[in-house]
Symmetry: C2
Subunit: 141 residues, 2 copies
DNA sequence: CTCACTAATGCAACAATGTTGCATTTAAGG
DNA sequence: CCTTAAATGCAACATTGTTGCATTAGTGAG
């Protein structure tokens, strides 16, 4: 994505445009799948560790990125769709972790999920899946 | 659940029966929903912090309990069904966190979920949902 | 362009969570 | 009982995330 587009996204959410934020967004955008926090820290080593946490938080709150958890300690981040609101992320997708290459992918939901949970009113949900990704499956053949 | 049943579960998975393990299982079993780690630590304060981690690990590996993540820092644990194998948990259920009382419930899946993810082969999945639980909904009326 | 104001940053310190090594104790089978 | 391997407790360490505060920098107004 062009830097100007990233700046535009920041402006759209009333977030100041700073080198750190652009660096972070570029790193997230450039990574295939959701990027692990440790990788962010390694790639953005010039940025203070605390600043990284706070920058991530700003972008999370601003709805520019989202957390893609994977049922582990490590947390992952990915860019949001344009349609995401600051307070209401529109993520009807699956966070898929490949058992082989360990990448985290955000896959679209192709089925309208109807969570039938009786008297429990579901407001949001997230699906964590694991298995084998497309790339690793084709390598195996 | 009776203590004898808990012992039986330990034996079934070739795990030694120790007071710590029985305490832990009793705490998990007695809690409504999945129990947070912090609550376990508070309730089992007599147990060494490290021993708690290791005991949890043994029971996780033995398939007696499972982790119920909730897209947060805190981790939660719940008893497994009898049918769970040590290496393959049969959890086609939803981990539901109530926004009001913050309890974590393990709800059964009433719908057969067909994850249509193209060339991505799904092996396991977990659903994290949030909303309002039955108890909190009825209180509100 | 400059100024003023607020938000962002960097640093230090702290807090919470989880792990490893090692010596000691204990469960379980003979 | 006795033996043996597993479980436990303690100390130390590692990782991850947070808070306070002084300094710097982005932004909008003039």
């Amino acid at each position: 994505m062009r830097e100007e587009d990233l700046k535009q996204r920041l402006r759209a959410r009333d977030l100041r445009i700073t080198p750190n934020r652009l660096q972070l967004l570029t790193a997230v955008d450039g990574f295939v799948g959701a990027i692990p926090h440790t990788k962010l820290q390694a790639d953005l080593a010039s940025m203070d560790r605390v600043t990284l946490y706070r920058t991530i938080n700003s972008l999370l709150e601003g709805g520019l990125i989202h957390r893609a958890s994977a049922n582990e300690q490590e947390t992952y981040y990915a860019l949001c769709e344009d349609s995401c609101q600051a307070d209401a992320h529109q993520h009807q997708h699956i966070h898929f972790k490949c058992d082989t290459c360990e990448k985290i992918y955000c896959l679209p939901m192709r089925q309208d999920l109807h969570l039938n949970t009786g008297a429990f009113k579901v407001r949001t949900f997230e699906i964590l899946a694991s298995g084998q990704c497309e790339a690793c499956a084709s390598l195996e053949k």
